[in-house]
Assembly symmetry: C2
Homo-oligomer: 203 residues x 2
């Protein structure tokens, strides 16, 4: 990996906003997540948050610095996060190719998100979202094969395109079914296989 | 624009399938639309089609040839279309950068699609979809400033993540409101300003 295009690396604490909506200016950069997790999220006029994508280590965001399109999202550190600031005009061919590959993968992720929103019920989407958190810093694996996800019902609602009240109801159903155990600001995954089955189901 | 990576250009008639779902193999290419329009669409087990993205001239599809991700969509010529086949390993730096810019724009389009699905009612999404067709080969502009879109209710349903029966009902409402006139396989846009207002509204 080339270092020539990297201007700086920056650290953010969980919950800090990295990028605000707006038009990218000449000082805008492309960002690569080095460690942690970044949530790409829009907020509507009523204050409802919607997660558009999670950005994991090795992946990029702020790609509108390249295309010039308006940024209509916030980028927020979902966990303690380090990012590299990349000068879009100083990328060498290898880094440009790497960026294109990662954007292609991100596009595939948003295709999946669109399909889930159209074809899956909320319960199935919540199961999928919880499993997606498993390989992020929000997850803590214990010695009994259980996984604790540090996530609020608001954050789950943002991830699945719903609101907290409705998510709380469905999280309760999943808990009664024995698939999860829900606590304050966290969800314990008890039956990962059953959650995986739900995540794959349509209708 | 470099020609070195272009293997061939191919012509497809409206309705022909260009790419099927599956894992990209070593013979898979990246495709750039030269003229026409390509619909990126998934089809669920019940046969319901869902448009994930439209690809216009200058834009690319088949980007999973680069990333190696599984292709879970069909690419279909939505109008008579010419595409250039591009060898992913023979792109020069300028073409790679161009691809990254276009993928960044495509990602922004899918962000918009996710937001519409979560926050807009069907009527607003249909207005937005009809306006999106205006700058495609599916639209014919007449001398009175009206625009005829050659699109079926099935195709509108796919574009907005709904089913034909429901779309037919809402198209009827828009027609009664005087915003459009609906015929067999086509929709005439009568009040583009009012459609634009609907397309911007949430809730």
């Amino acid at each position: 990996m080339t270092q020539g295009s990297i201007i700086d690396t920056l650290a953010f604490r969980a919950g800090e906003i990295i990028l605000y909506p707006g038009s990218p200016g000449p000082r805008d950069r492309i960002y690569r997540v080095e460690s942690g997790l970044v949530r790409i999220q829009s907020v509507d006029d009523d204050g409802n948050a919607l997660t558009l994508r999670f950005v994991r280590p090795g992946e990029y965001f702020g790609e509108e610095a390249l295309s010039g399109g308006e940024r209509r999202y916030h980028a927020e550190a979902a966990a303690d996060t380090r990012i590299a600031q990349i000068h879009p005009e100083r990328m060498d061919p290898q880094e440009t190719l790497n960026l294109a590959v990662r954007l292609a993968l991100a596009l595939g992720q948003t295709y999946d998100a669109i399909q889930r929103l159209v074809s899956q019920r909320l319960k199935n989407r919540i199961a999928a979202a919880l499993l997606e958190f498993m390989d992020t810093p929000l997850a803590v694996h214990d010695t009994k094969g259980r996984v604790m996800i540090h996530v609020t019902h608001d954050e789950i609602a943002s991830a699945v395109g719903s609101v907290r009240e409705t998510v709380t109801k469905v999280v309760g159903e999943l808990a009664r079914d024995g698939l999860i155990k829900s606590g304050y600001g966290r969800v314990m995954l008890l039956d990962i296989e059953a959650l995986g089955e739900l995540a794959r189901q349509n209708g």
